[in-house]
Symmetry: C2
Subunit: 296 residues, 2 copies
Amino acid sequence: MEFRELECFLVLSQELHFARTAERLYLSPGRVSQLMRSLETRIGARLFNRTSRRVRLTPLGERFLADLRPSYDGLADAVSRAKAAAREVTGVIRVGFLATPTDAVTGSVRAFERRYPGCEVELVEIPLSDPFGKLRAGQVDIAFTLLPVDEPDLVTGAALNRVPYQLGVSVRHPLAGRASIGAEELASVPLIGLAGPAPRWWRERLAPSVTPSGRPIPRAGMVATTQEGLTQVALNRGGELLCAPTAAYHRRPDISFVPVTGLPPSILGLAWVRAAETAAVRAFDGAVSEVGMRSL
Amino acid sequence: MEFRELECFLVLSQELHFARTAERLYLSPGRVSQLMRSLETRIGARLFNRTSRRVRLTPLGERFLADLRPSYDGLADAVSRAKAAAREVTGVIRVGFLATPTDAVTGSVRAFERRYPGCEVELVEIPLSDPFGKLRAGQVDIAFTLLPVDEPDLVTGAALNRVPYQLGVSVRHPLAGRASIGAEELASVPLIGLAGPAPRWWRERLAPSVTPSGRPIPRAGMVATTQEGLTQVALNRGGELLCAPTAAYHRRPDISFVPVTGLPPSILGLAWVRAAETAAVRAFDGAVSEVGMRSL
DNA sequence: ATGTCTTACGGAAGACGTAATAATA
DNA sequence: TATTATTACGTCTTCCGTAAGACAT
């Protein structure tokens, strides 16, 4: 059963003219002739009575046409419907957020839900220590993360904000009262390290081991989550770098957050697995992108 | 819409295993992977969630499958039905006979009708002067003729008999009383010629212009049909060669038929247009062939 | 470590166009 | 004679297998 032949048969049975059929199918008349010959051989009988002047369906051709047409249309429709469904944004989209549901996150989700009422958002927390695991495991469809991300199997999308870092320290720490500190001063504060399967560059970005100019920063233990880290901070075991909105979210009396100058800003954005990109993922990125445009 | 991809999708959605799918389709697993990737790109979304250990349909894949299956089966069935119909022997077959409906012809038709009661035979006379015109014009589906026939667009089938020629002459002709005559003696009898669109070799076979050894045979006028020829014979304008059964059929008091020795026998057989071969034509040839086998 | 899906690459089948040919009205 | 279907032949796409790679269990 050769599809091209069937397609050609259906067109020729409408046109009853090889040249016009060829035109409609973007073929040469000779090719149409070949295809019909081939189909007739396959079927085992003539489907058209043709001279160089007239083309007519044989009785068998008539029956075959009537038999074939509905199924052919059904097939084409099934493919069209699947394409449409693939473009459709419905069902549930599972969105990962990085440790802390800041306003940027909740605002993005609200914007998406307003724009696509047919699609429900399921928010899933992603630990700092493993920012891409749930993406790759298919447990979330798209995730908020810190840009840039350079993993070959991931794509990054909209960037939502560019915000400064703050250093969380115990209120009893000498820096607790400062209005701000420079990045180079981090060399004097042991930072809480990040454990887990996150790639090296990710761990280095959240808890750098050197200042921008290269001075080593001491390390104070390893934690897997923001809450664990803050607990260590409250116990005055070290400092922890958080972006400003996250710091604001976690404000508490026993911790003081001091703005840090001289560090590249923290960029919140979206990432997803390239091979698992769906219409909903594209739509979420698109909706978030629009919000980001306005807020930047 | 690529057919191979759809076919592969349907099999893979049953097997949920690339290697087994490849086996069923006589393909390599790699090719199956390519095809599915291509289909998913075409649709715009994943149809299977797969790792190297597990293959499962996505929700979209499930819907696509349910949507596609009936139309695909319908298509396959339509082709099957057409193939079956092409093999079927029903309706009307138009059979041409050459000038004279001898017993070989009527016997063949009866044999075919007995064997294929669903197919009606319509007998059409074909003039000696144009043995292939009605075949080529599509006015008959198959025709009795004299073998061998060497026309590029025609096929020959069963040979029914091999019979000697007889020379029809007026009862007043000197040869009228003879028990038989040799082929060389034709040089002394003007033969009635054959007019019309028949090829040269055909006219030469029915009214040769030379004896087997090469002696010229005089010509006595031109006619288009057997009856016209016999009229000329009765008027003693010349002789006419007929095969024995035809001579017997046309026995009349004013004409004497004298067996001719030394000529290759007349062979009655079937011919049809190669491009217009149908199941009925094949069946007719087959049925006649069986009769011929018994009678030879 | 093994079974399974995916990717890269090269060879071969066949899809297609061009142009000459045959046939009809 | 003009129009149209068919055939022959060369080119080029793409189909497909092989084999190596990546990944999950």
